[in-house]
Amino acid sequence: MKHFHIRSKLAGNIAVIFPKGHLDAHNVERFEKEILKQIDNDVVNIVINCKELNYISSAGMGIIMGYLDEIREKQGDIKLCSVNERVYEIFDLVGFTEIYDFLDDEKTATNKFENVS
């Protein structure tokens, strides 16, 4: 039984990635592949919609951290939205909430990119 699913959609020059379930060291490769796929396709405006993400460990957070510099060098960004309270607490514990934009919903997150471009 798979505990983690990932899908994405492209809205103009913004990729929205939907991690679902339990993201840990066992399934982090699939999450990394999805981020890499966007970068390889020159899509560097990335929204991670966490509405169905129940759990994240440092493995998943490491991927969000590891590609941020490359993405920002290419004038893009990673924004997170719809993060549930428990998962937000974990992001907050390591200081991600100071570095990344955490938005209430996908529309607000994508609008942030549209307002910049």
């Binding site: 060291a25 759990y55 440092s58 490491g62 951290m65 590891g66 390591v94 200081g95 991600f96 570095i99």
Partner: protein
């Protein structure tokens, strides 16, 4: 303070596919032990991080090694011991510089920090080629 005998002992092979099971079980044990759900999830995450480190660093990804986890419960908190062999872990210094890690494009280094920020104490020791990670979380007064 904690009982000499663990309340629960599990012995698992060093497979990351078992991490979710460990997390769910730990959450359950912490909740039974009167931790609020939010703290129970964090304690489970700390154990996930500790076990992931064992698999990744001490066992270098080998899947047929053994990891023993012991849970000691007390009215005031929970103690978890992770017992393993392999390469002895080196506990990183406290504190991380997130901006620096981002600039360095680092993907690792958050796990131990999470363990330290979640738990009230995290200690590693190695005796006769056996490594032990001992973590304690006390309940807050509201729990």
């Amino acid at each position: 303070m904690f009982p000499e005998k663990p309340e629960l002992v599990i012995s698992i092979p060093s497979k990351t596919e078992l991490l979710k099971m460990i997390v769910e079980m730990t959450k359950h044990i912490a909740i039974i032990n009167q931790f609020p759900p939010s703290d129970a999830q964090k304690v489970a995450l700390a154990l996930d991080e500790a076990v992931t480190n064992v698999i990744k660093h001490s066992y270098r990804g080998s899947m047929d090694e053994n990891i023993r986890v012991e849970f000691y419960c007390h009215a005031k908190g929970i103690k978890i011991k992770i017992i393993f062999t392999g390469v002895p872990p080196v506990l990183a210094k406290a504190g991380i510089d997130l901006d620096k890690m981002i600039k360095q494009k680092k993907k690792g280094g958050l796990g131990v920090e999470l363990m330290k920020r979640i738990m009230d104490s995290v200690e590693y020791k190695t005796e006769e080629n056996i490594n032990i990670c001992e973590m304690i979380k006390w309940k807050t007064q509201e729990s």
